[in-house]
């Protein structure tokens, strides 16, 4: 089951990775009318606050092992739902802080390297998937086609998190003991980046 998922996710990631650069280049000519799909996919990929959190979630999922794979799917589903919700619900000014906070949470959990209770892991994935989806959905240009833009966001989320999962899983299967530490160090760096950004945001908010 999980093996199939991993293979499928890997294949999807490979296909998407090979398609994306070419597709982005052709978005304005060959594939007329579906440019919003690529706009949606590029939105999280070109903004570090989303990219960092997606990557961190993927690494965390890879570190947690097999039970993490359905959680990764839940994260991408929450991205879809969050982006859809942003079409109707008014924007929240502090949502960016929640999204930076997700990097702190994911990075801190990677650094701790402890097995997470499954319900807690699901709750994290759904909460932060929703908040990232919402923020990306808000980024759609006026007159954009949400039925193209939103799947683009979710696909980008799937590609980045699946890359993180597969790479981390592969690395942790190596024998060398320092790799486990290196993964934790990466988590520590991600959390530190998030904390520093929160410090700047906090200073800006407090005037």
């Amino acid at each position: 089951m999980s093996r199939h998922f991993r293979q499928a996710a890997g294949r999807a990631a490979c296909v998407a990775a090979t398609l994306l650069p070419a597709a982005a280049a052709h978005a304005h000519s060959a594939a007329k009318g579906i440019g919003d799909f690529y706009a949606g996919a590029l939105h999280p990929l070109t903004s570090l606050e989303h990219l960092l959190a997606f990557l961190a979630f993927g690494i965390l999922a890879g570190q947690q092992g097999q039970k993490a794979e359905p959680v990764l799917a839940a994260f991408c589903l929450a991205l879809l739902i969050g982006a859809t919700a942003s079409l109707w619900m008014p924007g929240l000014p502090w949502l960016a802080l929640v999204n930076i906070g997700s990097s702190v949470a994911f990075g801190g959990l990677i650094a701790a390297a402890r097995p997470l209770p499954q319900p807690f892991f699901y709750a994290l994935a759904v909460l932060f998937g929703f908040s990232h989806g919402f923020a990306n959905g808000e980024g759609m240009a006026e007159g954009g086609k949400p039925y193209l833009f939103i799947p683009g966001i979710a696909l980008a989320g799937l590609v980045v998190t699946a890359y993180g999962l597969i790479t981390t899983d592969w690395l942790l299967r190596r024998k060398a003991g320092w790799i486990r530490i290196a993964v934790r160090v990466a988590g520590s760096w991600i959390a530190a980046i998030g904390i520093l950004v929160l410090a700047v945001a906090g200073r800006t908010l407090s005037g």
Partner: protein, 206 residues
Amino acid sequence: MPGTRNGGFNSIRHVVALAALLAFPMIASAHIGQGDIGGGFISGIAHPVFGLDHVVAMVAVGIWGAQLGAPAIWALPVTFPLVMAFGGVLGGLGIPIPGIEIGIAVSAIVLGGMILFAARPPLWVAAVLVGIFAIFHGYAHGAELPDSANAIAYAVGFVVATGTLHALGILIGVANRWRRGAQALRAGGALIAAVGVYFLSAHAIG
């Protein structure tokens, strides 16, 4: 890969590869979209690298960790960035801590001294000591964080640079495996302490 556990040169190669790997995606993404990301990243990298007092202390932390060996050498790179980021929050919020610059100079003197005498205090003493210095260093950086839209790129560059300086110290610390290398490290500790004395006297004089 067999033999990676105990091969000194292999682990050096791995650390370098890892550093390159971690730095690369950030550099690549700097060219996509928003033009100011690159500038924020570069100034984030530059900030810790171009302050000699910081460089010396970060490298010293890595070398001392290597002298102390496991588990200190592994606990250090995981916890240091987090504690330093905490100091960065204090600095970013403008919470007053007196004598930051003096604390930073003293940190180079103390860490250099620890390396010079190859001191092996209990792990918690080393952790508290390094933790206090981490807060000082983080505070100084946090107080100077730019108020710009590319704060994330800045933070990425900043943390990558700091972590790479630790890795550099740990790499240098590999020399501790050989008798001559260990002696060279202790001499380096004296040099680090001397740099600390220079900065301390520079602040004391004015």
